[in-house]
Amino acid sequence: MTDNQKLAIIIASEEYEKSHVASMIASVAAVSGVNVSVFVTMNAVYNYLKENVEKKNFTGGKIYRQIKEKKAAMFYELFDQAKMLGGLKIYVCSMVMDILGIEKDDLIDIVDDNLGLAAFLGIMEGAETITF
C-alpha cells in the first residue's frame, strides 16, 4: 500500500481545464491511499467562488465546452467525490482572499480552509508537487 505518500497540487490558473485535470489526478491519488493537498491561488480562486460555480461562470476552452455539453462531472463534483472516498484537503490562498475581500463562506463547500504560504509549504514538505 502507498500509505504516507503525499501529493501537493497547486492551481493558480483560472482556466477551467486546469482545475478539471487537477481534480481527476487528485481523485485517483486520494483513492489510492495518497494524502492529497490542493492549494488554490491567484486567478484560480474565481473558480471556487460559490457565485461563479452556481452560474457555471468559468473561463475555459474547447474541452471545457465539451465537458459542459456532454454533461460530464465538473471539477468540483470530482473533488467532492474524492473527499468522500479518500484523503483530500483543499485550501485557498489567504492572500488572494484578502485582496478580493472574500470570506470562507463565499467559497464552495469543498474548500476546507484558507491557508498562508508558510503553512502550505509545511504541507508540501516531502510531497510530490504538481502545478497548474
Binding site: 481527476m24 485517483v28 489510492s32 460530464a72 462531472a73 474524492a82 472516498l85
Partner: protein
C-alpha cells in the same frame, strides 16, 4: 482461455458506469467495493477505454484482486474481487 472462464463468473454485483467519463467508472467501482463484503466479485461495465488499464493498476495498488476483462463492442466488462477490507 482466461476469457472463457471469466464468462462463467457470476458477479456478486454489476456496476454499469457507462455514460460516466474517466475517472468516473473507477470511482463507481471503489464506492461499490467499499460497501460489499470481502469475497464479493464486482463486475464493472465501462464505456471508457482507459478503464481496462486503469482498474487493474488501481487494484494492484490497493491489493485487491483483478480477475480480468472482457472486451465487448463499445464497452468493457471488468471483473474484480474484494479480497480484504478497505
Amino acid at each position: 482461455m482466461a476469457d472463457v472462464n471469466l464468462k462463467d463468473v457470476k458477479p456478486t454485483i454489476t456496476v454499469d458506469a457507462r455514460g460516466t467519463y474517466c475517472p468516473g467508472p473507477l470511482m463507481e467501482l471503489i464506492k461499490e467495493m467499499r460497501q460489499q463484503p470481502v469475497g464479493s466479485i464486482i463486475e464493472l461495465i465501462s464505456g471508457d477505454a482507459g478503464s481496462a488499464k486503469d482498474v487493474p493498476e488501481w487494484l494492484n495498488k490497493v491489493h485487491q484482486e483483478f480477475m480480468g476483462v472482457i472486451e465487448e463492442t463499445g464497452y468493457w466488462r471488468i471483473f474484480s474481487k474484494k479480497i480484504k477490507e478497505m
